[in-house]
Amino acid sequence: MNHLRLRRPSTRTLLYLGAALLALQAAFPFLWMVSTSFKPPAEVFAQPPSFIPQDPTWDNFHRLFTATGFLVYFKNSLIVSGLAVLLTMVVSAAGAYSLTRYRYLGREKIAGLILCTYMFAPIMVVIPFFILVKKAGIENTHFALVLAFTSFCLPFTLWLMRAFFATIPLELEEAALVDGAGRLRALIYVVLPLALPGVIATSIFTFILAWNDYIFTRILITSDELKTLPVGVQDLFHSALIDWGLIMAAGMMITIPALLFFLLIRGWGAGGVKG
């Protein structure tokens, strides 16, 4: 795989230097956040800054959990992301099954149309969406949020699932059908297990998108007890004096679940995350 064939040691050194810089630029801001979140208030503002907390404390986390609505936001984020994953899974599995297993008029047109909507950016959809949601009387509900995330993920997840379904030999399914299983049973016991990487990639993609979303939640949710993490944490900024230790602790807590999910990806579909 040694494409550029690095012969001179200086080129080799440059390569390692480049790689180190790449790792550092990505990791440093995060490490700095971790460091700040464990510092007591006085040390947060110390000059020169200390890179390893001299006097590490859980105080910021303690205040985050007790003095702010963080746990409520966390719960909301979990509920909304979880439901979005579930709904997206069911709808895109059914759709992918349809696109790979049935023959009907306009099938490819439908598939193309759905993919096209992948081009729509949130800001173009969210303004009319907001007005329509108000007209339907479901503004300020998690339901509206789950619908928004699902429809937003669908173009990508449907195509991903379709690609995975298409690789599963139909003979296996036929065998199940011959043995007397219904189509639904064949789907659940034969197709889905074989398409497991696709199922996982789809769920992770949807989860991260829902977990990270800011704009839909900002616009569709108005009451504090329904807010998800990104919007809830942004509102911590509104206090007169910014409590950086607290904010950094919150930042860490939002990042961890997204990172855990990301580690699960191990390559599947990571490139499709929209942003």
Binding site: M1, R103, P128, G272
Partner: protein, 332 residues
């Protein structure tokens, strides 16, 4: 060192799909192979096919396409964002925007922001992909770490950078002063530097997407091509221009298109950086302006008109882009 396996990212063309039966011209009337069960009557196929795609189609139609179409109508109305009254005013919103200085400023700022962020994302992304395509100790780990900025929520990226760039306590100013590069601390989120700051931060956040896409393609280039070039005595630079570049043209075409669409319509990063910074109006790009018209001034009609204009600009640019690079479009 297991590392991540980098698949072909598939935003537009799932690569795992095997050729669909349609692409086989033979046997148009006979029951085609690959359909189960092959004996099911046509009508049955139609019914179940449509029934199973219906939920997905309904959601897309009702929650994406209908809202986008509705915004065309909404842009012709004078409508308060929270009250139900609305009044048809024709193209008045567009006439208003034509004479609105803030609109032109936001268009300009949005263009500046998009061009610089796209340019640096592509350059850095390709360079980083070339580095990570080499073999070295710890490659798997570095490949995993570099994706981090792209995976975290935007709000986290923003608070990280606001803290790094804080004018009094930020570590960036501390270093610049400590190393004697600057005499006085710089107000990174002030009027003069906020555009630079948001561009740097956006490049940091989004270039991993380019890296991921290009690296996936680099891994599929047959090594023989490089061997042949080396036998001919081509230097590393020439090998990049004559071997690598032609190979990544197709994916580069798609990546530049996607990134351009997403940067031009980028809302959350820009809005969150500008909000509370005092100098927010110096990075009030088109998407931010559309949001503000709708939710700060409650003029939903004007907000929708801005969204429609944004959409129109994107469509025109996409068409021009495809015309200019027709060749790459075919490869991609």
């Amino acid at each position: 060192m297991t590392g991540l396996s980098y698949p072909e990212p598939k935003p537009e063309k799932p690569s795992g799909a095997r050729p669909r039966p349609e692409s086989n011209p033979a046997g148009a009337s006979a029951p085609r192979r690959g359909w189960i069960p092959a004996t099911t009557p046509e009508r049955h196929q139609q019914l179940w096919g449509l029934l199973t795609i219906a939920p997905a189609l309904f959601l897309i139609l009702a929650l994406t396409l209908y809202p986008v179409a509705y915004s065309l109508w909404l842009s012709l109305l004078e409508k308060h964002s929270f009250f139900p009254q609305e009044r048809f005013i024709g193209l008045e919103n567009y006439f208003y925007l034509w004479k609105d200085e803030e609109f032109w400023t936001s268009l300009w700022l949005g263009t500046v922001y998009s061009i610089w962020t796209i340019f640096f994302q592509i350059v850095l992304g390709v360079a980083a992909a070339l580095i990570l395509n080499e073999t070295f100790v710890g490659r798997g780990l570095v490949r995993a770490i570099v994706l981090f900025p792209y995976m975290i929520p935007t709000i986290v990226a923003v608070i990280l950078w606001k803290w790094l760039l804080n004018d009094t306590y930020g570590v960036v100013n501390y270093w610049l002063l400590a190393f004697g590069i600057m005499r006085d601390p710089i107000s990174w989120l002030g009027a003069d530097h906020i555009m630079l700051s948001v561009i740097v931060m956006s490049v940091w956040q989004f270039f991993p997407f380019v890296l991921l896409s290009i690296l996936a393609r680099l891994q599929t280039i047959p090594p023989e091509l490089y061997e042949a070039a080396k036998v001919d005595g081509a230097s590393a630079v020439r090998r990049f221009i004559h071997v690598t570049l032609p190979q990544i043209r197709g994916i580069l075409f798609v990546v530049i298109l996607l990134r351009s669409i997403w940067m031009f319509t980028k809302f959350d990063t820009v809005w969150l950086m500008g909000e509370g910074a005092g100098a927010g109006r110096f990075i009030r790009t088109l998407p931010v302006y559309a949001y503000m018209r709708t939710l700060t001034y409650y003029q939903a009609g004007l907000g929708a008109a801005l969204a429609v204009i944004m959409f129109a600009i994107l469509v025109v640019c996409t068409v021009v882009y495809f015309r200019m690079f027709r060749e790459e479009a075919d490869i991609g």
